[in-house]
């Protein structure tokens, strides 16, 4: 049985989680060299190719990337929600214990209790045939043996916490009777109702109107403080990350390509892809000038070219880039790593985003 196998050198997973709780030291969640592959008819898709990161208590980590970068898949792996056919390797240490080596029952006891997840589209993520109150109560009663009435009372508290007016009446409403923003608030309530230590938010605002997005993000931060949780915020929207995250992890083609504090990565990106992302956002500073999008498209995850996967689109690419895939090099800044052979060239520039010039205008 997986429990007895002591592969990771950590304490056997048979002991109750409580006894392993670190007191503010060491990472709450540590992902080491996570790899996820899916066998498909067209070949094996390497969705995640060696992701490592760590999350401390009450920290907000932003994971940024395009569709296909592997950001969602790696988080689903942490939750244990990938299909059975997925081939997962690596370690996911929650409070020092490897989730991947746990039995199904133990994994289930973590989900919704120690780790809560908020999904992208609240309309489809909530079951349309049950009331919101029932779904919230279910989240509680699956981990605790309490009466339905008590569970519904807790649900009411949660709805109040997330800012839904008249929560008691709302318990009896169905998801389709809520607006988009309210549904997402209800999802947040559902994710935190058991006071988890980690909240994974997978593109929580992408499906919402712009005006509602800011409200939801603000509410998410309030809730995080209320329940004392850390957040892994997955998004493709850099603006969201800038406002909320302490640290940023940029992913491309299944791998992290840059990681550091938000200030470091935003002010001085050391990897061309990150620079390109920052440069493609319109802002007041670049008003009047042409936008600088990154040309080309992300590579296929089935037939990855050798070398750096970004090289076909990178203005700094040279022969070495096409042969050897860069590891995450430490840069001149503390705890700021980047996967680029020529990160120093980027560091020398005042404006790293300038390497993606609009056509015809010479680089400075």
């Amino acid at each position: 049985m997986a429990d007895a196998m002591n592969l990771t050198g950590t304490i056997s997973a048979d002991e109750p989680i409580e006894s392993r709780r670190e007191r503010g030291e060491g990472p709450l969640l540590e992902v080491r060299d996570l790899t996820v592959k899916f066998p498909t008819e067209d070949g094996i898709v390497n969705a995640v190719r060696g992701v490592s990161y760590s999350l401390a208590e009450r920290e907000v980590l932003g994971i940024v990337g395009e569709s296909g970068s592997g950001k969602s898949v790696s988080s689903l792996a942490v939750m244990g929600l990938l299909p059975k056919s997925a081939q997962i390797a690596g370690q996911i240490l929650l409070e020092g214990r490897d989730v991947l080596r746990m039995s199904q029952k133990q994994q289930r006891s973590l989900r919704g209790r120690k780790i809560g997840m908020i999904f992208q589209d609240p309309m489809t993520a909530l079951n349309p045939v049950y009331t919101v109150g029932d779904q919230l109560a279910e989240a509680v009663r699956s981990h605790e043996a309490i009466s339905r009435r008590s569970a519904l009372a807790r649900a009411t508290e949660m709805l109040e916490l997330v800012g839904i007016p008249r929560p008691k009446e709302r318990l009896r409403a169905y998801p389709h009777e809520f607006s988009g923003g309210m549904r997402q608030r209800a999802m947040i309530a559902m994710a935190v109702i058991n006071n988890p230590d980690v909240i994974i938010a997978d593109e929580p605002t992408t499906a919402l109107d712009v005006t509602v997005q800011a409200q939801i993000l603000e509410k998410l931060m309030e809730v995080k403080d209320a329940v004392n949780a850390a957040i892994v915020l997955i998004t493709h929207d850099l603006g969201v990350v800038a406002g909320m995250a302490n640290r940023v992890l940029v992913m491309y083609a299944g791998r992290p390509v840059e990681s550091g504090t938000t200030a470091q990565v935003f002010a001085s990106p050391r990897m061309p892809y990150a620079a390109g992302l920052l440069g493609s956002i319109p802002s007041l500073e670049t008003a009047g000038a042409r936008l600088r999008p990154i040309p080309g498209a992300p590579p296929s995850l089935i037939n990855l070219p050798s070398g750096c996967p970004f090289s076909p689109r990178c203005p700094l690419a040279r022969a070495k880039c096409q042969e050897i895939e860069p590891a995450l090099y430490s840069t001149d800044q503390l705890e700021h790593v980047a996967a680029c052979h020529y990160w120093e060239e980027l560091a020398d520039l005042d404006d790293p985003t300038s390497i993606f010039r609009a056509q015809g205008v010479p680089a400075q």
Binding site: G68, S72, L301
Partner: protein, 335 residues
């Protein structure tokens, strides 16, 4: 506009095809070309559909070449009309068992499927029945598809009064059990195969009409229709060049399934006596004609029945393969 893609969608196919957005016209013509190739490729990879295709083709070739059609002679020496003396109690002369298992080795003999009460060759009769049943089924498929698409397209696109009337008519026809309506109409039509095909086509279109209407209702709200209108395209162009190609998948799949339903319906009708009648024959009529003899001469029952099942099953498999080919969401992940 393409929906926001999540990792789950990206997993199932080559990412490289997702490119930057181009103008609307280019977008859907490019998709149509690659889509057609992908559909064809997926179809030919579907083993069930390929099996069905082979069996159906075999039955068709066998039926039409063995006894000939429209005056052209076939390679089988017996005719389905000439009566004669009943040999061997009308037993099958087909033998497939090798000698060591109590057989005579592979032999076909004069009457591989046996003979009927008046000495006609049963193989030839079965072939003739197959010819007629398949002809009717395919004709019904075509007629009902055309009708269904027209009714569905007009009611889904124009809405308003057109839609109401057409849909009321469709719903009305759908409340009458299929066999009941078909039997009455079959009785009116008399029993010649082509006329029967025509009237049965008038019975099977409502289902497809509903489906096509549904597709048109949702597709007419899409942005590419708005864009086409903004470019000044007339209604007919929008219907035929823009919306209809996107419904092709549903139409083709349902046309195939209608053919398989049609063969079962026609044989049932002929069995009850309301379908094909003498002097023509159909697989259903053959089974009905010799009902009393099955205890002693089971081959009179098995052969026509097996052919009906073979045709219906193979067409169903083809339809299933087509459905999987047109619906890319069903990608199989090898366990």
């Amino acid at each position: 506009m393409p929906d926001i893609q999540s990792e789950d969608v990206a997993v199932t196919g080559p990412i490289a095809e997702a490119g930057p957005l181009t103008s609307i016209e280019r977008e859907f013509t490019i998709q149509a070309r690659t889509q057609r190739e992908m559909v064809i490729r997926r179809f030919f990879r579907h083993r069930g559909a390929m099996g069905g295709l082979i069996v159906f083709a075999f039955v068709l070739v066998l039926a039409y070449s063995s006894i000939g059609i429209l005056g052209l002679p076939g390679w089988w020496h017996q005719s389905y009309e000439t009566t004669g003396t009943v040999q061997n109690g009308g037993a099958m002369s087909l033998d497939l068992l090798p000698p060591f298992v109590d057989g005579d080795g592979l032999a076909i003999g004069n009457h591989p499927f046996g003979q009927d009460d008046v000495g006609r060759d049963y193989f030839a009769l079965t072939m003739r029945g197959t010819q007629i049943s398949v002809l009717i089924a395919v004709s019904v498929g075509i007629i009902s598809t055309v009708l269904g698409v027209v009714v569905g397209a007009f009611s889904g696109f124009y809405r308003g009064a057109t839609e109401s009337t057409l849909m009321r008519l469709t719903d009305l026809m759908l409340t009458i059990p299929l066999l009941v309506l078909a039997a009455v109409i079959g009785q009116i039509s008399g029993g010649t195969p082509l006329l029967l095909a025509l009237v049965l086509g008038l019975v099977l279109w409502p289902n497809l009409a509903r489906l096509v209407r549904g597709e048109f209702l949702s597709l007419r709200e899409k942005e590419f229709v708005e864009a086409a209108r903004a470019m000044g395209a007339p209604d007919s162009r929008i219907i035929f060049r823009h919306i209809l190609p996107n419904t092709l998948g549903t139409i083709i799949v349902n046309a195939t399934l209608t053919i398989s339903a049609a063969i079962i319906l026609e044989t049932a009708l002929s069995f009850l006596g309301f379908g094909v009648q003498a002097p023509d024959t159909s697989l259903g009529k053959l089974i009905s004609d010799y009902q009393t003899a099955f205890q002693t001469r089971p081959w009179l029952f098995w052969w026509p029945g097996l052919f009906i099942v073979a045709i219906a099953l193979s067409v169903n498999f083809i339809g299933d393969g087509l459905r999987d080919a047109f619906d890319p969401k069903q990608t199989r992940v090898r366990a």
